[in-house]
Every structure is written in C-alpha cells, then in structure tokens.
C-alpha cells in the first residue's frame, strides 16, 4: 500500500460517519462557551481534531483535495484581525478595549453575554485552523528512516 493511501476501509467508513458528529460537537462547544464549560479554545481543538481524523484516515492527498488549505490559512489569519476589529470597536463605542457594545440579551439564553459569543466563535476558528495547520505541516515532513 502506498504511503498516502490512508488506513483500511473500516476506518474510512467509520470516519465518514463520525467526522460530522465531531465537527458538530466542536461547534456546539464553541457556541455554548459563555453558558457551560468549554468555549473557543476547547471547541476549536475539537474542530481541529475532526479535520485531523480525516487526515489520518484518508491520507494527506485526499485531505488536500477535500479541503482548501490556502482558504483555511486565510481564515486563520483573518480571525486574528477580526478579534482586533471587535476590540477596537469596543474602544470607539464602549470606551475601553473589548468593551461590550451590543445588547447583553437575556441571562442564560444562547444570545446573551454581549460580544463574548462572537469572540468565542473567532477564537474557535483561530484555534481550530491553526492547530490543524500545525499538524498538517508536521505530518508533511519525512520521519521514516532512510527516505
């Protein structure tokens, strides 16, 4: 079997079913960061693990065709800028860096806690994409003796 072919059919089939559930769970953790344990970092790690699952099961070549790696890189860079934009909007509207400038909503509802929800989403994208890209770059290097 060639090196980039990935794992066996069993692993591929299980991954095809489970990867969307892992992705959905990560998104759930990100969106409920201000209500329950978790948040942007934890959810972002789970999102990255969903992509890593595909990379381990199907190999790098399939993942390269399936995902647009350059777009993920742009997304990762843009999320840092978006965080800064929200922080500076806090200066201009609320008076301090990262000050809340949108409605706080109802307590314990999903749309509450002001700018924490968008910031959690931005951190989730940033962490997920950067963790996946780090593992992607490291997996591309040759670590087998004699190659």
């Amino acid at each position: 079997m060639r090196q980039n072919d990935g794992m066996t059919l069993i692993v591929k089939t299980v991954t095809r079913i489970s990867v969307w559930m892992i992705l959905l769970y990560g998104i759930y953790i990100i969106f409920h960061g201000h209500l329950s344990p978790g948040g942007g970092f934890a959810g972002g790690v789970i999102v990255a693990l969903a992509f890593l699952n595909v990379m381990l099961a199907y190999g790098r070549k399939f993942t390269f065709d399936w995902l647009n790696i350059g777009f993920l890189h742009d997304l990762e860079s843009a999320s840092a800028t978006l965080f800064l934009v929200i922080g500076i909007l806090g200066i201009s509207i609320g008076g301090a860096f990262l000050a809340n400038f949108i409605t706080k909503g109802e307590l314990f509802a999903l749309l509450s806690a002001g700018t924490i929800l968008p910031l959690n989403i931005i951190i989730g994208i940033k962490v997920g994409m950067s963790l996946f890209l780090v593992a992607w770059v490291l997996a591309g290097s040759k670590t087998v003796k004699g190659e």
């Binding site: 209500l35 329950s36 970092f41 314990f108 963790l131 670590t143 004699g146």
Partner: protein, 112 residues
C-alpha cells in the same frame, strides 16, 4: 497537604524523564508532564471541598464556587504549552531530517 506532595512527585517524574531519557520524543513527553504538574498545582491552590465549578447557571450560588482566576491562568498556560510542544516537535523533526535518529547521544556533529 498530601495532594501537593503528589503533585510534586508528578513534577519529579517529568524532571526524571527530561534528565535521563535519550529519545527526543520521550523528552518532549516529559516536558509535557512537567507542565501538567504545574497546571495541577495551580488548580489545587484554588480547590475547596464541597464547592462547584465557577460557571453561573440557574440555582447555583456564587458563594459555593471555586476561584476562577487560577483556572483562567491554567487555560492560558495550556495554550502556551501547546505552542511550545508544537515547536519542540518541529525541532525534533528537523533534527531527524538531518541526523536520521531521535537518539540524543547520536546527535553531536555540529556540521555535515
């Protein structure tokens, strides 16, 4: 008190691994264990008996909650640990590409 001692033992396990192991991957794992010991110590400082996690929800009194500040610090520490581990793995891979081994006793030529 015993939990702090156990935490220190965990730190010593990590230190033992860093000092005695010859495999680069094992050294990186030992550095991870060192970091976990420090994180555990910070969490244990904030722990109280019969207390709950510091997340505001219905029917939970603020007085029962543990101190959230060490937990926030530990979250930052975990993120930085992730970054350092990624960098160490990248350096180990670069060393492997040059020397074809992870054994640190074999990695001694400075050139060529």
């Amino acid at each position: 008190m015993i939990v702090y001692l156990l935490c220190f033992v965990l730190l010593l396990v990590g230190l033992y691994g860093v000092l005695t192991k010859r495999d680069l991957i094992k050294i990186i794992l030992s550095i991870g264990i060192l970091g976990y010991a420090v994180n555990l110590l910070l969490i244990l400082f904030a722990y109280r008996n019969d207390s709950i996690y510091p997340i505001l929800s219905k029917g939970k009194a603020v007085e029962q909650m543990v101190d959230p500040l060490p937990q926030a610090l530990v979250l930052t520490s975990i993120v930085i640990e992730l970054g350092t581990t990624a960098m160490l793995v990248a350096l180990a891979i670069k060393l492997f590409e040059k020397y074809q081994t992870f054994d640190i006793t074999q990695i001694r030529r400075l050139k060529g």
